[in-house]
């Protein structure tokens, strides 16, 4: 049966298979990258430089993806605890000797480059949970759930201390997805949620310091900083809203072309997209992301073992969470967190991390179960 299939496949597809890449996922990602270049060209006011630099980053990202795709899930599983340990150590190092950049301590100066360890944890944390649960019978016991929660909480607390509440929540949710997909009992989930609801006010009134409360308040209510992120959100909403159903047309967004938008090539790139391509364009973009998610979940469900399944599943869901948080943020639905629009926003770090994640998915896909049981 496999021989028959193989004969039908064209040469490019066979080449991709040999490279351990999934053609459909690659196609969808390629579409996102093309879109990224188009919107960046417009956001940069017709400046090709920005696009060229993004293309270089995509090149690096594809290289990373290709490299990671060659690593078998088995090897990934063996390395998981070490990657996690190194990541957490680096977070501790940042806390002790880190370089302060953009008002928060997030960077580690390695001499030749500056490095953001919290980015590593976005993958390392779910890997660690998948590693821990992967060898155990599922669904996890209460004890296993508690151990998993410790694995999740340690990096979260360290990142929160930087302070980077947004990233901490993203790292936490990525790892939590692995736990959820492993079959975390719904009763425990509800109990935990209930406990958190009770604990929150107690923490607020009796445990947290004033400066910590202030951080949470600024996070939840950017309007309290009208010259900072509040201004961004207002401008962004005007951009998106004024796009209307059909949009103002590519390169025609007055908000973006007149440079009113903040960070319009990075976190706020969707505002440019929404203004220029309207509701119809936005719908198509959402559809594209849903297709990526669907393909990723499909790959996850055909993984060869429990570890690969949990890892692939959590990466897929995390990818979608980024999308949701980003668009929710620029459209004024969610607080402002520094989350880029996955694969579209300008910027190196996030694209490389995402590409590494997709590399793992490719690897999982290339090593799927031989027979569908």
């Amino acid at each position: 049966m496999r021989l028959v299939e193989a004969r039908r496949e064209s040469l490019p597809v066979r080449l991709l298979k040999w490279l351990k890449l999934d053609p459909l996922l690659l196609l969808l990602l390629g579409l996102l990258m093309t879109l990224s270049c188009l919107v960046l060209f417009s956001a940069g006011g017709g400046n090709i430089d920005l696009v060229l630099r993004q293309l270089v980053r995509f090149g690096v990202a594809i290289g990373v993806m290709l490299f990671v795709a060659q690593i078998t899930p088995h090897a990934l599983k063996l390395w998981s605890p070490w990657i996690y340990a190194v990541g957490v150590s680096m977070l501790i190092a940042v806390a002790v000797i880190g370089v302060t950049g953009k008002g928060a301590q997030r960077w580690l100066d390695l001499g030749f480059m500056r490095f953001q360890p919290s980015e590593v944890l976005k993958l390392a944390a779910p890997m660690m949970v998948a590693w821990y649960l992967g060898d155990r019978a599922l669904p996890p016991t209460v004890r296993q759930v508690l151990v998993s929660l410790v694995i999740i909480t340690v990096p979260m607390l360290l990142i929160m201390d930087q302070p980077d509440l947004g990233t901490a929540l993203l790292v936490g949710s990525a790892a939590f997805f692995a736990l959820f997909l492993a079959g975390l009992s719904v009763r425990l989930l509800l109990a935990g949620g209930g406990l958190a609801l009770i604990a929150a006010p107690i923490m607020w009134f009796f445990v947290m310091h004033d400066y910590q409360k202030q951080r949470v308040l600024t996070f939840l209510n950017p309007e309290s900083d009208p010259l900072g992120s509040g201004y961004h959100i207002i401008q962004s909403k005007i951009a998106i809203g004024s796009g209307g159903v059909m949009g103002k047309g590519w390169m025609n967004g007055s908000q973006s072309q007149l440079d009113f938008l903040p960070e319009q090539s990075t976190d706020f790139i969707f505002s440019v997209f929404g203004e220029e391509f309207g509701l119809v364009g936005s719908l198509l973009l959402l559809l594209l992301y849903v297709l990526v998610l669907a393909r990723c979940l499909r790959i996850a469900s055909r993984a060869q073992d429990s570890y690969a399944r949990l890892l692939a599943g959590s990466i897929s869901l995390t990818f979608f969470v980024y999308l949701f948080v980003n668009i929710g943020m620029v459209s004024g639905l969610l607080p402002v967190v520094g989350v880029p629009l996955p694969m579209v926003s300008y910027g190196g770090t996030s694209v490389v991390t995402l590409a590494a994640g997709f590399g793992m998915l490719m690897s999982v896909n290339a090593n799927k179960r031989l027979m569908n049981r």
Binding site: R136, A137, L138, P139, T141, F177, F180, L181, A182, G183, Q235, K237, I238, A239, I240, G241, S242, G243, G244, V245, S254, Q255, Q257, L258, D259, F260, G274, G278, L279, S282, L283, L286, Y289, V290, L293, A294, L297, A300, S301, S306, R309, L310, G313, L317, F320, F324, I327, G328, S331, L333, R373
Partner: protein, 619 residues
């Protein structure tokens, strides 16, 4: 219970479990995507009109258009302060990634002096972040510099060349103390000025007329609605409300006379005030040395400013209004009038000058400037020959309080309220003043020195001119002023004139004639102190009074330049005069610092100015 002990793995079950969970998560994700879509539909469909409107508003910015500053002319329409177009190099810091690199690049095209660099750095520091305003780097670009930069402008993001109207003083130092100068608006100015009206205005009056009549000169700010990007770069003008230019001011100054006056001083330091005694209009007001106000317009370096401020002659100091000097013998006619009025001296009564004067019961000899004495002379000749002994005697008999009371109505000892800044009031001594200021009683000897305009007595050149005017005009004390007429932007012309400040009343009108005659004798009598220097060859008859002020007496005063006292101990030379004697048209008061004798140094300067006015002669 068995589950816990031997948890055998069931791969199929685990896969089913995962698929169930993944499906659930997928559905949740779909719901989230639907939420996003709903949110976007809300913004882009239901709220579209609202945001569309806001987007329009966003493009449109209201920007102030600074008004054109009014010009300043002399009485004959000669320009004193002009606006000249100039090009300046500006950098918008928000658009520059690496400022040092950019400056280095620019430096290869145009020279950037240390002063320009420092001033630019200060400008950068002062500007609020995110205001997207250009900070000027170089002013008054020369044509070749302009061309060199303009060609490559696209290579330097954030760099722009702006055309601005720059204040320019075509005669440089001439009348600088009167006209003043403008400078860039700084924080202290903003505390004083109305913020709304000064949006977009870069310069404001800092001294002299430029500052005193700032409200008239500035004009009304205008506004334009422009489509801008966030850099504030205007793409299109949508609507405009034109600014109203400032009014043009015509001063009473005569630029030609001012030039004559300043030239007449040569290298000497001092001051001159020429005014029309009938109207109070200031015709010329000089303070020497001068300086070039153009160097202040776009900011003077700290070093250059310090050199001006602390220089030997202190050029920034407006001697005509702020300089307080002992008036010396120039006050004798005023005391003479008082003596006549009081009957202390009657016309024709003579005393003998033997070269010194002694108070009863005192050994101290108060000397006359003429060592061996003038012999017998009356009041008329005492003024003409400036005998000190006569006035010691007069002062002794009149007493300090009466001396004070007779001089006060002439404007001594108080500010006269001329329409510019920096006027000082001088000091007309009295026992009451001394008690208040020094907490000391008045000594009889001090009365004598006050009688010859020395001691505590201080007057500004302006006060001397005004008081002399009052003598010339039989007691009408003119109110000095500089502004003659205002030409508003709408063409309306407003004339400014002032009423006399007061009238010095006398019991007998002939006392005026007596004193005026004695002052004519100063110039035209063969024994008059100014006869040989200026009177003998004069084509018209005029009146005057010489004065010589001892610098020693100045040393007690804190205000006056101590350096000069140390280095140059020569007396100050003074001369006050009016002409023609019977029909006063011009009053001139001159002081030449450390000039020596009033007759030989100060009087010729006054004569040149009067010649110019009456004969039209420019020497």
């Amino acid at each position: 219970m068995a589950r816990r002990r031997a948890r055998l793995r069931n791969p199929d079950m685990e896969i089913r479990l995962f698929k169930g969970r993944a499906l659930f998560a997928g559905v949740v994700c779909l719901l989230l995507a639907a939420t996003l879509f709903g949110r976007l539909a809300w913004l882009q469909f239901f709220q579209y009109d609202n945001y569309q409107e806001q987007s329009q508003d966003n493009r449109v910015r209201v920007r102030p258009i600074p008004p054109t500053r009014g010009l300043i002319f002399d009485r004959n329409g000669q320009l004193l302060a002009d606006n000249r177009p100039s090009y300046q190099l500006e950098i918008t810091p928000e658009l520059v990634e690496d400022m040092d690199a950019l400056l280095a690049q620019l430096e290869s095209v145009v020279s950037i002096s240390d002063q320009e660099r420092t001033r630019f750095k200060q400008g950068l520091y002062r500007q609020r972040r995110g205001s997207y305003k250009g900070v000027p780097l170089k002013f008054n670009l020369a044509p070749e510099q302009l061309a060199a930069i303009a060609v490559d402008l696209h290579r330097y993001p954030g760099v722009s060349i702006e055309a601005r109207l720059n204040r320019f003083y075509p005669d440089h130092g001439t009348a600088v103390h009167t006209v003043g100068y403008v400078g860039r608006v700084d924080e202290r100015d903003l505390e004083r000025l109305e913020k709304r009206a000064y949006q977009g205005t870069t310069h404001t009056g800092k001294a002299g007329i430029e500052r005193h009549y700032e409200d008239l000169l500035h004009g009304e700010v205008g506004f334009e609605q422009v489509e801008v990007n966030v850099q504030g770069r205007a793409l299109r003008v949508l609507d405009q409300q034109k600014p109203e230019p400032g009014a043009n001011l015509y001063l009473s100054l005569d630029l030609g006379m001012q030039r004559v006056a300043e030239r007449a001083f040569g290298e000497e330091a001092g001051a001159l005030v020429a005014m029309d005694p009938r109207t109070g209009e200031i015709l010329a007001m000089a303070s020497m040395p001068t300086y070039d106000p153009n160097s202040f317009v776009n900011g003077i370096s700290v070093k250059d400013y310090a050199a001006l401020r602390d220089g030997f002659y202190r050029p920034l100091f407006n001697r005509a209004l702020t300089g307080q000097y002992p008036p010396g013998s120039t006050v004798k006619p005023f005391y003479g009038l008082g003596a006549l009025e009081e009957g202390v001296n009657t016309q024709g009564k003579k005393i003998r000058c033997i070269g010194y004067y002694q108070l009863p019961n005192e050994d101290h000899r108060y000397r006359c400037w003429k060592k061996h004495g003038h012999g017998r002379l009356d009041l008329d000749q005492s003024i003409a020959q400036s005998c000190d002994i006569f006035f010691y005697d007069l002062a002794h008999r009149m007493g300090i309080q009466k001396m004070h009371d007779y001089l006060a109505p002439f404007g001594f000892g108080r500010e006269l309220g001329i329409d510019t800044l920096g006027e000082e009031g001088g000091l007309l001594p009295s026992p009451e003043w001394k008690r208040r200021a020094r907490n000391r009683p008045w000594y009889p000897g001090e009365t004598l020195i006050a009688g010859i305009g020395q001691g505590y007595f201080l007057a500004t050149p302006l006060q001397l001119a005004v008081a002399t005017s009052a003598l010339a005009m039989d007691g009408a004390v003119p109110k000095p002023h500089l502004l003659q007429r205002v030409e508003h932007a709408d063409g309306r012309v407003e004339h400014h004139s002032t009423e006399p400040m007061g009238q010095v009343e006398v019991k007998q009108q002939r006392h005026w004639e007596y004193i005026k005659k004695s002052m004519e004798h100063v110039v035209h009598h063969r024994r008059g102190t100014a006869y040989w220097n200026v009177g003998v060859n004069s084509e018209y008859r005029f009146a005057g009074k010489t004065g010589t002020a001892q610098v020693f007496s100045v040393a007690q005063d804190e205000e006056y330049d101590e350096e000069l006292v140390e280095k140059r101990l020569r007396d100050h030379a003074l001369f006050v005069s009016w002409a023609p004697v019977d029909d006063p048209q011009i009053v001139v008061a001159v002081i030449v610092e450390n000039g020596g004798h009033g007759s030989s140094v100060a009087a010729p300067i006054a004569k040149q100015v009067m010649d110019y006015h009456l004969l039209g002669e420019a020497p």
